[in-house]
Amino acid sequence: MSEVKILQNGSGLVWYKFLKYFEIAKVNYFNSATYLVNLISRSAIVVIRIWIFTQLYKVSYSITGVSEIEGLTVVMVVWSLMMTQSFQTATRPQLSKLIDEEVKSGTLAYSVNRPYSYILFHFSGFIGRSIPNLFINLFIGSLAALLLVGPIGLSWEALLFGVILLFFGYILDFFISLIIGLSAFWIEDTSAFTWIYSKGQLVFGGLILPIALFPDYLQKIAELLPFSQMYYGAARLIVHFEPSLFLQYFATQLVWILFFGLVAYYLFNKGIKHVSVNGG
């Protein structure tokens, strides 16, 4: 009865819709948080990686004999790598694989008939799953970075603008992963795209080598690619804030989100025409 009342009211309808997706995010949040052993093991690998980066960059910087490269010190490099790794690994399990399985198994046919948007359903799930992972990764990663290289100077504006870039970075990652998953409508095995996508992130996403340390010509190219606009932009801004850099990254991010968002929407609509439901 109360639901009917809400639906009769226009603003209530928007609120009701919001609640629906909030609930989806909540379920995924609790689901992810339940598997504590998995979360701990995932965090342990983050610690080992930070340890590796610390030793690698301490040795590399000491060989070159400089304390700063392109404005970044070893401490900044380690913290920025810790963040990009934490942001990126928080999105597991890979969305592209989940969608791929839904397309192949046919569960997508049942999902699209339910009273929610398929794309928004998965987006809420994606965000809900990532949040507990992100907090645990960042907590353990920060502790490790603190112990290994010491603290880093943080400003409120760096954090605020970094978080904005991160949120839009997740949207960008979501759309590209969705596209890879949806390609299962036409291609038998999408895993090759998933590997190439994750390697694109590894090379141009600042996961091993910050883009600021790239040779100049490559740096310019890398900053225009979508890979750097997911998690590197946010991490780079948090460790070393530059207002002009925020505007540059944010504009590039929005262009890519618009592009991949449209492609995903087009592919989804084209793909569901292939879906036929037989029986119940």
Binding site: Y35, V37, I52, Q55, A192, F193, K199, V203
Partner: protein, 266 residues
């Protein structure tokens, strides 16, 4: 007697893998996409180190050529495991779900059967990549090819033992699937970096819990400059991990509980 049994198992492994590859090749497009997809994937991985070494040309004497050799060896040993024993990665899942029954009903060794039950087709791309990189790394002699082959197989077996050990922990603790996968990624992660950068406690981790030293550091040194004593250490480590893997699996199997699932494999 022992040797003839080993010979039979090797020939059976070869036959099972061959039939898996041949059946995968029936789906030609998928096969080509997987193999070449992996090849591109590996090339991208080398790309990042090309960029890195432009900024830092030498890390304690370790140069891009060393990284190329490291990648050649680790992609080959990884590929050997994935092609012939992909089932190792599914052990934890199989144990946790009580699906080991299928292998228990056969006259052959349970662990061996579970290991060879799957083949990763994309690993053929890794194998091709590793061999190409090795042949382009310069200074190739017949002796070096032989050494590369022997060390490639030996490190693949150590790699396999590590996977069996971590996946079999599921027998004892229940849910260990993702933790085992993460340990595997940690091991693989170590093999990406210039090996001369590590020191102190991290080196101890590489020598024990995550034995990257025996899969990457030491073998690359051996291929570049052979040393019989170091080679014996590598063989010794292989024997040690084989014994540990066999004990953990065999002892764990006694604790195994069936899921009472009836599976028909076609």
């Amino acid at each position: 007697m022992f040797l003839s049994t080993v010979g039979k198992y090797i020939s059976l492994t070869w036959e099972m893998t061959k039939s898996s590859i041949l059946s995968a090749m029936e789906y030609r497009v998928s096969f080509i996409v997987q193999v070449f997809g992996m090849l591109v994937n590996d090339i991208a991985l080398v790309g990042i180190w090309l960029i890195f070494f432009q900024k830092f040309p030498s890390i304690n004497g370790w140069q891009f050529q060393d990284t190329a050799m490291l990648f050649a060896l680790t992609t080959v040993n990884f590929a050997i495991v994935m092609i012939f024993a992909r089932g190792a990665f599914e052990l934890s899942k199989t144990i946790a779900r009580g699906e080991l029954d299928y292998y228990l009903s056969f006259p052959k060794n349970v662990l061996w059967h579970a290991l060879v039950s799957k083949t990763d087709i994309s690993a053929i791309g890794d194998l091709l990549f590793g061999l190409i990189i090795f042949f382009f790394s310069g200074n190739i002699s017949l002796e070096k090819i032989g050494l590369f082959a022997v060390i490639g197989i030996l490190t693949a077996l150590i790699f396999l033992n590590f996977i069996i050990i971590t996946q079999s922990i599921t027998f004892y603790v229940g849910n260990f699937e993702e933790a085992a996968e993460q340990m595997f990624h940690a091991l693989l992660g170590f093999t990406l970096y210039p090996q001369t950068a590590f020191y102190g406690a991290l080196k101890i981790v590489m020598l024990t819990i995550i034995p990257a030293f025996f899969i990457a550091t030491l073998p690359v040194q051996l291929i570049q400059k052979f040393n019989p004593q170091f080679f014996l250490i590598l063989v010794g480590f292989w024997i040690l991990t084989t014994i540990i893997a066999a004990i953990i699996f065999k002892h764990g199997l006694r604790r195994y509980e069936s899921g009472n699932l009836i599976n028909v494999k076609m």
